[in-house]
Symmetry: C2
Subunit: 472 residues, 2 copies
């Protein structure tokens, strides 16, 4: 068994569990712990390092979650087979789903400055308001919030969501059409029960977490290529799909906005055969920096075929596990039949806090503030990238929380990622977002979680790392 | 269209929406509003009654949720076809899933004293502790609780659950086997993805909410009869099932405890063929009033085939949407493969509060207190029922939050329910819990939400209502 002597930092710059996690991770990545080698038990390691067992357990847990360690029942923890450091970034991108990425601040587990496209700037979250609303909600006399609530979510929250959708997204709907749930993944599970197994067209590349959930539910997924106007309607028509999952306002990860004529084509497609539906995932339309907001497709739905998915995870905070869907009438009736008996998955206290956050204008103020903050970061990044434009085609600007850089010299994303990592910066490959293996010359730079100064410094590093090397 | 002039109580004894809801409900039940009649819109009614539109909307919503009103798209609200008052109680029992039953206090919508088997005594919930933990969790500096957490739930909460299970339920498990989720229904959805479609044996009668969820997921359900020792193992063996959903410690609704020899038979059954599993739903084992606690089946699982389901909805509060499952090793590995990417559905703030509630002994104190309170109610009910013993066989005692009364004179449950309702008391029929239509002579009396004095008064009323009438 391996003997781990972990040199803790004196200044306790990071919690012990994090230091243990980082140390072991690096040992495995750099081959000093080989695949299949057995690690000490959490108890042994805790004794050796004089920390509590829950500390070592937490570190091991994270390593198991990220695939660095494997557990064998009744035998303990073993180092897993991992690819070399060069391949790590893309792996991490999507597979970490909900690992506590934001916790680790500006650097990833390897100490790289992290341009994660999944970051969120939590530094400006209005904690004091949230605390106040929480305190008031929990005041004595509000014990009804601890009794069961309405299955679709509390009336007050569903009304507040409708008001928001009408004012900000151009969608007219009634609270009776809204279902509140603990995350979009859960809502997709409910929706599966309403629509049954389907053949679902997805934009390619797309939001892989959604494709994974839909596949896990047994749906067939058909990748449909995009052009500048969004998912290609001609290919959709030939795909054999009877449902399509689209992000018309701001496609992830390409940043494409679906044109008005394409919207009409896609809506027409949905109306051409009975039982066809569109899922509109409107995950981050709140953050648009130039021009007018892009309206939701659902707002111009003349077919009654659009299922609208919204979430507060991006715009408020990831741990606020509240998403919602708006169902067209036909599906809404069917929902009552087959899902009407499911109790709400969001606690009433959280629903009440969020309803007041919306009703009392805090959400709007928070969005305006964050839009300003993200705009500044966005512009700092664009400005810093200016000298790179001769070598890279930059896209995805004007909205969202990341940009795409496509190499004009035909450099492969693996090369770009590896050189960046060597220089201390983590960027992400587009290929991880494709539904089928694809060669890519494009990297993604998320900036939500970085300060403007870090963005400039990071891009400066990237310029040097990527400069003047020959294409590979 | 109907003209509704609702006479509000002067003393505002109930919120307006509730008065509107009760008024319309009674009008429909008593036939003064006929099936198919159109009601005024929420706006019209709000204007007429000089209340806000959200008030009328809330009342209509509840009526739609309970099946009294139907909506027709773009046309408004219509009275639904409802059976006569006599048939209402059973309908209500299970179909209301998560309607705010507890909100309405001691009386159901018709003003009957309500012996609901789904009630919870929230009057003794430690609100001040919960508020304190909530306030401390939301203190500045704890912003990590707003970032994404671990997919299976926070390590701290999973550890606290393991400690509780070991101390109180005799289950030895590791946090890595635990999955925390927003309610048992959600966990059954995840489990379906792990096991695939199955043929599931269920005790008959059983917890119908679970059978509905399992059916909705596409599983086949096979009812298996019980005897005094629990689900009959001989019938299970012949059922063709490859999974069984059981409540060994306190079966719902019969209150049966699975005997040790039956446990062994059922465990043996699960081990006889590859891929067989048992789901142990341990929903309310905390409340046992005489003798020693019944250990969980999972604690004596020598086969690695038991999936343990637990919840805090009963023992803490219904709106605390936190349940958990403990997976045996083989399924646990499969879970990581097929469900490992699902983000947790419970907010980290709630997880942290609950973890501290468990760790710091509040949960144990709360349980001890509630056990005492429920024991007193339970004994008050048993004592009050003493004179009825000559006409009724009483069962389900010693645990849980309800009793069963089976008529020795062969009276049908409908008759018992109707006579009770005429006298002002609502009791529930056992037939609603059967998986197939069944004739029943048994009614259920839940007592969690009633005071001892109300229990005594209610039973006195029942004695008179049921006295000396001829069997029907």
């Amino acid at each position: 068994m391996i003997d781990l002597m972990i040199p803790f930092a004196d200044n306790k710059s990071a919690p012990y569990y994090e230091q243990i996690y980082c140390f072991i991770k690096r040992e495995i990545q750099e081959g000093r712990i080989g695949a299949g080698e057995k690690l000490p038990s959490t108890r042994q390691l805790a004794e050796k390092l004089s920390v509590s067992r829950s500390t070592t357990q937490l570190a091991y847990d994270q390593l198991v979650a990220e695939g660095y360690l494997e557990t064998r029942p009744c035998r303990g923890y073993y180092a897993a087979e991992v690819e070399s450091l060069l391949a790590m970034p893309e792996r991490g991108t999507e597979e970490m789903a909900s690992a506590p990425e934001e916790n680790r601040g500006k650097q990833d587990g390897n100490g790289l400055l992290d341009f994660s496209p999944r970051g969120i700037d939590l530094g400006h979250f209005p904690f004091s308001v949230w605390r106040k609303l929480s305190r008031e909600t929990l005041q004595a006399g509000n014990r009804e919030f601890f009794a069961s609530g309405l299955p679709r979510g509390e009336q007050r929250l569903r009304q507040a969501i409708c008001d928001y959708l009408q004012a900000s997204r151009g969608i007219h709907c009634r609270p009776e059409q809204v279902v509140v749930g603990a995350g979009s993944e859960y809502l997709l599970m409910l929706l599966w029960q309403v629509t049954g197994k389907r053949r679902i067209a997805m934009e390619n590349p797309t939001y892989r977490q959604a494709s994974r959930v839909l596949q896990g539910l047994g749906h067939d997924i058909v990748p449909v290529a995009m052009d500048r106007s969004g998912m290609r309607a001609d290919l959709l028509a030939r795909s054999g799909a009877d449902m399509a999952y689209i992000m018309p306002s701001h496609q992830f990860p390409t940043g494409a906005v679906m044109s008005v004529s394409r919207r009409r084509e896609i809506l027409n497609w949905s109306a051409e055969a009975p039982g066809r539906y569109l899922i509109e995932d409107d995950y981050d339309s709140e953050f648009r920096y130039r021009g007018r907001p892009i309206p939701a497709l659902c707002g111009s739905d003349y077919t009654g075929r659009v299922i609208y998915l919204g979430t507060f995870s991006k715009a408020v905070a990831p741990a606020i596990r509240v998403s919602y869907m708006v169902l067209p009438e036909e599906l809404n009736r069917r929902y009552d039949e087959v899902c009407g008996f499911y109790a709400s998955t969001v606690s009433r206290v959280d629903q009440e806090i969020l309803a007041r956050f919306l009703e009392e204008g805090y959400f709007e103020r928070h969005l305006n503030r964050m839009r300003g903050i993200y705009r500044n970061k966005h512009e700092a990044l664009l400005e810093a990238l200016e000298p790179l434009r001769k070598d890279f085609r930059i896209s995805g600007e004007m909205a969202g929380l990341h940009l795409l850089l496509e190499s004009r010299r035909g450099e492969r994303e693996e090369t770009l990622i590896a050189r960046a990592a060597e220089a201390g910066v983590r960027v992400y490959g587009l290929s991880a977002y494709f539904l089928e293996p694809a060669e890519s010359h494009t990297v993604i730079l998320g900036y939500a979680n970085l300060e403007e100064e870090e963005i400039r410094r990071g891009v400066q590093t990237l310029r040097e790392a990527w400069k003047g090397k020959n294409p590979t």
